[in-house]
């Protein structure tokens, strides 16, 4: 681990200013991802700005009937929130499908969105990785790709985004609220937060340098039946091979986002119009540009079947 300096942020505005002005600064929230990466020098911030003391741990209703989730709300608390469980159960289920209770107690809403990929080559400093070291190559392309993305990838990187929570937030049309160094705030649709790798897989989000996430805002509840199906090799404590977040209305229409198969939560509002009539067409639309290898081609069939299962779950839950 590289030696670093540390400060506790005293206000959101100050945190954003410091993050933009101190060279090599990074925010730390739960630290469950960042610290692991720092230990093996995949992240090597010169300065840490600890945001844990900021007043960003509240879950509050918004004037238009939605929910504003503070950036520091712990995954455990968010999953247990009565309003979330009642109005956005897909989110609670996605959270509970992730990591372990100990990790969820620590992990924050913003940190979860910004957690980095679990590509094993990214974690091994002796392997080429464009995300870790731009221009060095991608060892995964010739290697083991079972856990990797099949859509939205590029010749530079095929890593998948590992978050479960983000998949549910995507299906809920969440927006991310931020503050920049100049004190300005903005809202970014979750769909636009994560970038596809293209030729620059080390650039993962559309946030500016030092931009602080202050909250995630959910629009008013979408109704319908909510399902989160996460498919994995063991029953707990494993990242998704494929996951499906589904909000299904009584008439069979609804929204679908997929996890485990792309560099970001994967949803296509056009394709999902077919949900009531032909669910496989939704998956086909979502995966139409899939580029698979022999060890991850199964994800196409698995995505179809998991959506079928999710629909069946939704139907029987009614």
């Amino acid at each position: 681990m590289k030696a670093f300096t540390y400060e506790r942020a005293t206000s959101t505005a100050q945190a954003a200013v410091r993050a933009a002005s101190v060279p090599g600064a990074k925010f730390i929230a739960g630290g469950t991802n960042l610290l692991d990466l720092m230990k093996i020098e995949i992240e090597a911030p010169a300065h840490l700005i600890d945001v844990n003391g900021l007043d960003l741990a509240k879950i509050e209703p918004t004037p238009d009937g939605g929910l504003r989730i503070g950036a520091l709300v712990r995954n455990t608390d968010l999953a247990a929130d009565a309003g979330v469980r009642r109005d956005y159960p897909v989110l609670a289920r996605a959270l509970l499908a992730g990591a372990s209770p100990q990790l969820r107690n620590r992990a924050t809403t913003a940190g979860n969105l910004l957690q980095r990929t679990r590509c094993p080559y990214f974690y091994d400093p002796d392997q080429a990785c464009n995300k870790r070291e731009p221009g060095s190559g991608c060892a995964a392309l010739a290697g083991w790709r079972r856990m990797h993305a099949i859509v939205g990838t590029s010749d530079a990187c095929i890593a998948a985004h590992p978050s479960d929570m983000a998949v549910a937030m995507r299906v809920l049309d969440a927006e991310v609220e931020t503050m920049r160094a100049d004190g300005s705030t903005r809202r970014i649709a979750l769909a636009d937060l994560h970038r596809l790798p293209g030729a620059t897989p080390h650039l993962e989000t559309t946030l500016d340098a030092g931009e602080l996430i202050t909250a995630v805002v959910l629009p008013s509840p979408p109704g319908g039946t909510h399902v989160y199906r996460k498919v994995r090799d063991r029953a707990s404590y494993a990242f998704a091979l494929v996951s499906v977040a589904l909000v299904r209305q009584p008439d069979g229409s609804g929204r679908v986002a997929l996890g485990g198969i792309a560099p970001k939560p994967w949803r296509d509002e056009d394709a999902e119009r077919a949900l009531a009539s032909d669910p496989h067409a939704v998956v086909d639309g979502l995966l139409k540009d899939a580029r698979t290898s022999p060890d991850n081609a199964f994800k196409i069939t698995l995505a179809r079947r998991t959506l079928d299962a999710a629909i069946a779950d939704a139907r029987s839950a009614r």
């Binding site: 020098e41 679990r118 091994d124 498919v231 494993a238 698995l302 079947r305 139907r315």
Partner: protein, 736 residues
Amino acid sequence: MKFDTPATKNPIDRLAVVGHPVDRIDGPLKTTGTARYAYEHHDAVARPAYGYVLGAGIAKGSIHSMDLAAAKAAPGVLAIVTADNAGPLGKGDKNTATLLGGPTIEHYHQAIALVVAETFEQARWAARRIRVDYGPVDGTFDLARAKESASKPASGKPDTAVGDFGNAFAAAPVQLDATYTTPDQSHAMMEPHASTALWDGDTLVIWTSNQMVAWGVADVAKTLGIPKEKVHLMSPFIGGGFGGKLFVRADAVLAALGARAAKRPVKVALPRPLMFNNTTHRPATIQRIRIGATREGRITAIAHESWSGDLPGGKPETAVDQTRLLYAGANRMTAMRLAVLDLAEANAMRAPGEAPGMMALEIAIDEMAEKLGIDPVQFRIANDTQVDPEHPERPFSKRRLVDCLAIGAEKFGWKARNPHPAGTRDGRWLVGFGVAAAFRNNLVTRSGARVRLGKDGVVTVETDMTDIGTGSYTIIAQTAAEMMGVPLHRVVVRLGDSDYPVSSGSGGQWGGNSSTAGVYAACTKLREAVATKLGLPPDADFADGRVRAGSRDVAVADAARNGELVAEDHMEYGDLDKRYQQSTFGAHFVEVRVDAATGETRVKRMLAVCAAGRILNPKTARSQVIGAMTMGVGAALSEHLVVDRYAGFFVNHDLAGYEVPVHADIPHLDVVFLDETDPMSSPMKAKGVAELGICGVAAAIANAIHHATGVRVRDYPVTLDKLIDRLPLLAREEES
């Protein structure tokens, strides 16, 4: 003491302490965190420095140059050990690759440097500042591709044959010819390999996490080129080994070299990501099994061939072992072939040989039963043998496989099994039952102990035996208590120190029976000494803290009133294990549920019935068996060291990528021990159980998945991607 005739009645048979489910005597130390592991001897070692191991970043080739300048200049660095400056090093008898590589690199993450610094973080930081210029060369990493080049291993017993397999198989009306694969697996024990070393003059004092103290002393001495007498090695507590700690590894050798270079005590633990490629692993196998049978279900021909790989000079995985002994059949052959692979060193992991061998054989038996239309329990029972089928003049010392199967079937409710695969459904789940035999050979080996009777009447046992979480402390205490007729709390057990008599160590499920037999021998001597001291006949009775003969009745402590009595002996073995085949038996029954949509398999319930001689402590034995069953679930469903065939290493080298079962994967586990004693094995009449428990589990699960889905998967682990294309179509109901 020599054990060369079958055991007769002896003091252990009293079963006042032995055979009882007593709690582990070391339990409170472990649950309170006060048992000191190899990295934690803060009491004995003041101001240790920290060593961090740098592993090679290529799989094969050499180091052109190493630039240590930046690392040396990094804060806190005390010393850097490399092959260049370590002086001449030997190689341990039990090691295949050298433990400190360079300039030649034999495998990925082979240790090439140790950085010693004031703190762990400083050592880690500096290690990454070492610049290495490699000269990589192409290697062979893929067993399937190397299979054709495999050759007959130089040692061991690679081939056996009886009768005329070829003709008998060709003539058999029902035949099976199938190939199975098992993947590379990692021990993935909780405690990493770790050592703390210091030099006391020219004597090396080392605490290391090692299952075999005497092997450890010998190989540390040989590697460092110092006399064995100059190595004091201690391994009192071990956080799991599973065979991964049978041998001295880089942490021990580098801690010793680092302590010498830094002139400070040094502790070294392998970081988790290094453990998978730096240490040993269970190698992958390709196994071809052919079985021929009559229509009535009698096996007439059986053949098992296995291919595995290892570094040059390595050994094969003996995956055909059980097939030489498990089922009858007049015509048979087995063969093992070994390919050279440039992956990390292949070696023993829990039940080497039988664990992967049974994974294949017991699917083959299930397939054969299906072809014959015979219930798989009945098919196994029908082909039981009471003699070694390759050497019919050798009976089994005790063999109750049939009882295990029959009792297990009854207890499990096997009768309820739907005879048709893919025929049972429970909501979204496809339900399947599976069975497999369990089989693991019983090994006995020389083991010594010293026993002291103190003035206070406390009996102290000293032996270099280890407790790898198995319960050695406890069963050794029970044995001494039984032998000396004292209550358990009057016994103190000291283990894992090379100053104590050489024991069997822990491995190959030989430790429980062998080490207690050694304690039996030493206690027999101590009884004689006590009797002599008290002027009692040698056949005096030891019970309730007293020694009785005729009308005399004396407290055992009286014998030591004028000074401690000490006795030392070992148990060695004659040829009973040659005249009688000694094995352990069992049966595994499993119910699985496979998600009809996704192919995810979840185990619903498991039962193991074991016949493994006298169970010295049903509680610790059960712990061993359920632990082994859990490991079997991993082998069946998820554990797989994935070889990057291009770069030549195990890619998923951490516990996020190498998936062992978690609590949510393991249902209630039932274990039944048949009441049995085996007088051929030792005076304890016990055998091993800890490895028996894993043998067959994975196959029982694979068979249950087949029963649930109708899909036969012959390549482990049975992950959903191997099922998904062949699962039944999902009925998508119409909107209601």
